[in-house]
């Protein structure tokens, strides 16, 4: 049982009122309060911090809430705001992470071998040492509509060319899983829209598993996928595309890098709001810090959690075209589709990535969505979603002679 502290006459109830009308903070209390008293309790610097914080909020945050609400649909705003707040609870300043609470809060869905809207899924542990799990999504053909047995799950693909998308979910290297509902849903959409097989990788996460574990897992999954006879197209090759959002986009780049000297052919990289950074602060980071869900502080935390201890953000994993990276000139690197959201605070790094690829003579297409925020692709309730899905579809399927593509918008959702 706690004990009461010294009962001072000045131990009164204090609170800070934020008066929206006058947009100024007021220190109030039931009883006296003086700056001296506050100093004595919190220390002068914290008191200063409080005041500054409130002034900052008075001036800017009020505008921010409404602004971010204006650019995304309400349900998207709720979803991403909820993530933002819940994630804040999980991050500790010493770099530790409340993994158990994170798993409790995360909404997951099981694999489902029964087709739903024409797509079914199943999980495979492809490496028992590291417990590496992948989730495979396939289209159910008409004749397969009765429950497929295990043998049928790995039946060879029936069409001549079927792209296999190796997908890496986002979460800043720390959050989410292959079976998180938001990503299971996204993968199912990719199957339908691109008429592809999607393989989602449940890579190891920081801070428990730092660099390069996620890349190792990606590489292991790539090797596994490329060696499945039943994933081959008519030309006896597996047609592999790498795709990922946020940290997944970063993994796409790094896995492709690792594959450069191998005999594994990657036909394309798709990076959605991918997570890059650097030691220097860029203009977009300063301008957009805290404005549209993400803050520099949380970005920094995630890099500290993922990168090796003692490293800074110019580590090549974080900054692929930074001062410590090797050139990609003359390297056989896959063509890339890079999607950048105009309201993402790290866009300058993403644009630098595109520039870096161009300078190295690589094939890259930039899709810049001015009014998009992070997470816009999680719900099909905005134009950007459809634009991006179309682009991804074209990026993949324009390689092939006329394939049956679902053009109807209705089937995208």
């Amino acid at each position: 049982m706690a004990e009461t502290s010294n009962q001072n006459k000045e131990d009164t109830l204090f609170f800070i009122c934020f008066d929206r009308q006058s947009a100024t903070p007021k220190l109030c209390g039931l009883g006296l309060c003086s700056d001296e008293f506050w100093n004595g309790v919190f220390g002068a610097s914290f008191l200063e911090y409080l005041k500054n914080r409130l002034l900052y909020m008075a001036g800017t945050d009020e505008v921010n809430f409404n602004e971010s609400q204006r650019v995304v649909p309400l349900n998207t705003w709720i979803l991403i705001s909820y993530f933002k707040l819940a994630y804040k609870l999980l991050r500790c300043p010493d770099g530790t992470f409340d993994r158990h609470l994170a798993e409790f809060l995360d909404r997951k869905v099981p694999a489902n071998a029964n087709p739903v809207d024409g797509t079914f899924s199943f999980d495979i542990i492809i490496d028992q040492r590291t417990n590496l799990l992948i989730r495979i999504y396939r289209s159910a053909k008409a004749e397969e509509m009765q429950l497929p047995t295990i043998a049928e799950l790995v039946k060879p693909l029936s069409s001549s060319f079927v792209p296999v998308i190796l997908f890496f979910h986002g979460g800043s290297f720390v959050h989410s899983s292959a079976d998180s509902a938001i990503y299971d849903t996204l993968c199912r959409r990719l199957v339908r829209i691109c008429n592809a097989v999607v393989v989602s990788v449940d890579y190891r996460r920081a801070p428990e598993s730092r660099y390069p574990c996620a890349y190792d897992d990606g590489w292991a999954a790539l090797k596994w996928v490329s060696s499945r006879p039943w994933l081959q197209s008519k030309d006896s090759r597996v047609h592999i595309y790498l795709a990922g959002d946020s940290s997944g986009g970063n993994i796409v780049h790094n896995v492709a890098l690792r594959a450069v000297d191998s005999d594994i052919d990657i036909l394309g990289n798709i990076l959605l709001n991918s997570m890059f950074g650097g030691q220097q602060r860029t203009e977009s980071e300063n301008r957009l810090d805290g404005k549209y869900f993400a803050t520099l502080r949380d970005r920094d935390w995630y890099w500290r959690a993922f990168l090796p201890e003692g490293e800074n953000r110019d580590h090549p994993a974080c900054n692929p075209f930074g001062p410590r990276s090797e050139s990609l000139k003359g390297v056989k690197f896959p063509k890339s589709l890079v999607v950048v959201a105009g309201l993402d605070l790290i866009q300058d790094w993403q644009l630098a990535y595109v520039e870096g690829l161009k300078k190295a003579g690589q094939n890259v297409k930039l899709l810049y969505l001015e009014q998009a925020t992070i997470g816009f692709y999680l719900l099909p309730n905005n134009d950007h979603f459809y634009t991006v899905m179309d682009e991804i579809n074209n990026f993949i399927n324009s390689n092939y002679p006329k394939r049956q593509r679902s053009d109807q918008r209705l089937s995208y959702a």
């Binding site: 706690a2 309790v41 349900n75 705001s81 300043p93 409790f104 099981p110 739903v116 542990i125």
Partner: protein, 596 residues
């Protein structure tokens, strides 16, 4: 000391949001405001009779009523502003003792978070709030006296169970400031209707795909493993088509091929092949009374080897302890007494209760024993000895019956709920009742007569009770393959090979029953959480949610469990499930009689 609160001007915010709520795009249907989505997206069902959830969010596992969206947005803003005044390090401290419930309900979550920051605020009845919660902001010395007196604190970390010796309890961390927690936990009475659970959850139940889901997890193995499965399926199909000669021939092939296999797949194939052989030749395993003693022993080995039963006991006990709270006299009726392994931990936790342990009465129910040895009584004696050493007043009664449906509430000496708090516990037992017409309904209506404060139910998470043999076979093959895979990990880490071998026999007997038997003989009629949920709810029970504290502690239990790498705890609409990787295998749910 001090109490810090950031308040927004509520009136202004409310007005702003009322405007957005009435806006044609943001109000009502789940379309959301802002950019164009109406023409593109399919027609949103404006008025869904099941509670009007935003469809898109629901597809991602979050339940928010369309009509609540603006409110939720406002509260999220409030929460952001409130925690925005704290530095990063303080935030996790602020909420480190908070117990979260029902993570799908964003409204409830943000409401309870706001209440944590401001306990003097009146509780919003729409929140999914729950009994034990801590306020984190220290004392309020000059609050008016009535507020102060309502602050009764029980640090719920003292309810933590020591299921396995050496299980380290996570103690609340130190505060960085000098704030002292007086422990300002308000107790919500269990009688308060859990508004968030009734319309919200039943809506989700209708909408989700419980019946149609077939979770599938495989371990990448050699080609021969897949071939083995292929032949097993062909064999089952032959049985389904009553082509017994073919089935017999395939059984031989399976046995031959299995020899060349390694690991889990071999064992699984052998058990299934044997079960099919028994079915073909109608050599059913005897359900004699010798069985039950042997069963108990096998179950004990299974309990030692892998965490499923330990998880079951742990989570059920957690729910029971929360329900008992500070009741002075408690009674547990255990439908699945067996060797009573669940109860030492509960008794220890009761012994450590602040304010002292209650008087604890235990009624153990079990099947008849061979040669009239009274195993139930013996278990009772052992527990009584334990009770003596830890200082818990203990009374015990054992009941022998063939079926739970044979019990009448009058036999069980149930005392009025004002005098004694009752919990009924059933671990992997209720599914047996499904083998007899009307049995489960009788037992559930008996439960309602007994008026328990809580009913804890643990069941295997599997569809082993469908009408078609082939489907059951398929489901069982996947389920037990996954179970055996998880045991496989244990072979490498545990030295007690006898335990492991016995565990496999334990599971093998279940396989045999599912595959070889029919009618009343087939008692391993496992059904999924979704199926049990529907049955309980339509029988007049409401769910009692298990929260993040139970989840965390169960997860921590697994962390220290050797070979525990692949095990995973999952939260599912207030219930907890334990699985191997992404495949849930066992589920714990808690219930109380619906307040109608």
């Amino acid at each position: 000391m001090l109490y810090l609160l950031l308040k927004a001007d509520r009136k202004t915010m409310k007005r702003e949001h009322q405007e957005t709520a009435n806006h044609p795009l943001t109000g009502g249907g789940g379309g959301g405001g802002g950019e164009g989505c109406s023409s593109r997206s399919k027609t949103w069902k404006e008025d869904q009779g099941d509670g009007g959830m935003d469809e898109l969010l629901e597809g991602l596992g979050y339940k928010v009523k369309s009509s609540d969206m603006a409110d939720v947005a406002q509260k999220l803003e409030q929460l952001e502003m409130a925690i925005g005044t704290f530095q990063e390090g303080q935030i996790s401290h602020l909420f480190c003792e908070t117990v979260h419930y029902n993570p799908s309900d964003i409204y409830g979550w943000v409401d309870s978070m706001l209440s944590e920051l401001n306990p003097s605020q009146t509780f919003d009845p729409n929140g999914s709030f729950y009994p034990i919660r801590n306020s984190i902001l220290g004392q309020q010395p000059s609050m008016n006296s009535s507020a102060r007196n309502s602050l009764i604190y029980d640090d719920n970390s003292e309810y933590d169970l020591s299921v396995i010796p050496g299980f380290a309890l996570k103690m609340p961390s130190e505060w960085t400031f000098d704030l002292q927690r007086e422990g300002t936990s308000k107790r919500m009475k269990h009688d308060a209707p859990q508004i968030s659970t009734s319309p919200v959850n039943s809506a989700a139940k209708l909408r989700s795909l419980p019946e149609a889901t077939r979770p599938l997890l495989m371990v990448d193995s050699e080609e021969a493993g897949v071939r083995l499965v292929h032949i097993l399926m062909a064999c089952a199909e032959a049985v389904q088509n009553e082509d017994l000669k073919l089935a017999d021939a395939l059984v031989m092939q399976i046995r031959l091929l299995a020899v060349s296999q390694a690991g889990a797949m071999r064992k699984v194939a052998i058990y299934f092949a044997e079960a099919i052989a028994r079915r073909i030749h109608k050599i059913y395993p005897q359900q004699s009374s010798i069985d039950s003693f042997y069963s108990d022993t096998l179950q004990m080995h299974f309990y030692e080897t892998c965490p499923y039963l330990q998880f079951a006991h742990f989570t059920a006990n957690h729910a029971i302890l929360e329900a008992f709270s500070d009741a002075p006299r408690v009674h547990v009726i255990d439908f699945s007494m067996s060797l009573g392994m669940q109860w030492p931990a509960l008794m220890q936790a009761l012994a450590l209760r602040p304010g002292g342990p209650p008087a604890f009465r235990l009624t153990g129910i079990g099947p008849p024993q061979p040669d009239n040895t009274d195993a139930l009584e013996q278990v009772g004696w052992k527990l009584a000895q334990l009770a003596g050493t830890i200082g818990v007043e203990f009374h015990y009664r054992g009941f022998v019956c063939d079926s739970l449906a044979d019990l009448e509430p009058s036999m069980l000496d149930i005392r009025p709920s004002a005098m004694e708090t009752l919990a009924v516990n059933s671990i992997c037992e209720l599914h047996r009742l499904l083998a007899r017409q009307g049995a489960i309904d009788k037992v559930l209506s008996n439960l309602k007569v007994m008026k328990p404060k809580i009913v804890t139910i643990v069941e295997q998470e599997a569809k082993h009770n469908g009408p078609v043999f082939l489907d059951r076979f398929n489901e069982a093959l996947h389920y037990y393959s996954t179970l055996f895979d998880s045991l496989d990990g244990c072979w490498l880490t545990q030295s007690n090979s006898q335990d492991l071998a016995m565990s496999e026999v334990y599971l093998g007997r279940q396989i045999c029953n599912v595959v070889a038997c029919e009618g009343p003989e087939r008692v391993e009629r496992h059904e999924t959480l979704a199926q049990w949920r529907e049955r309980m709810e339509s029988s007049g029970f409401d769910p009692v949610h298990l929260g993040s504290n139970a989840f965390k502690q169960a997860s921590m239990l697994l962390d220290i469990f050797s070979g525990g790498d692949g095990y995973r705890v999952e939260e599912n609409n207030g219930c907890l499930m334990l699985g191997w990787h992404s495949r849930p295998l066992i589920a714990t749910s808690a219930w109380r009689i619906a307040s109608r």
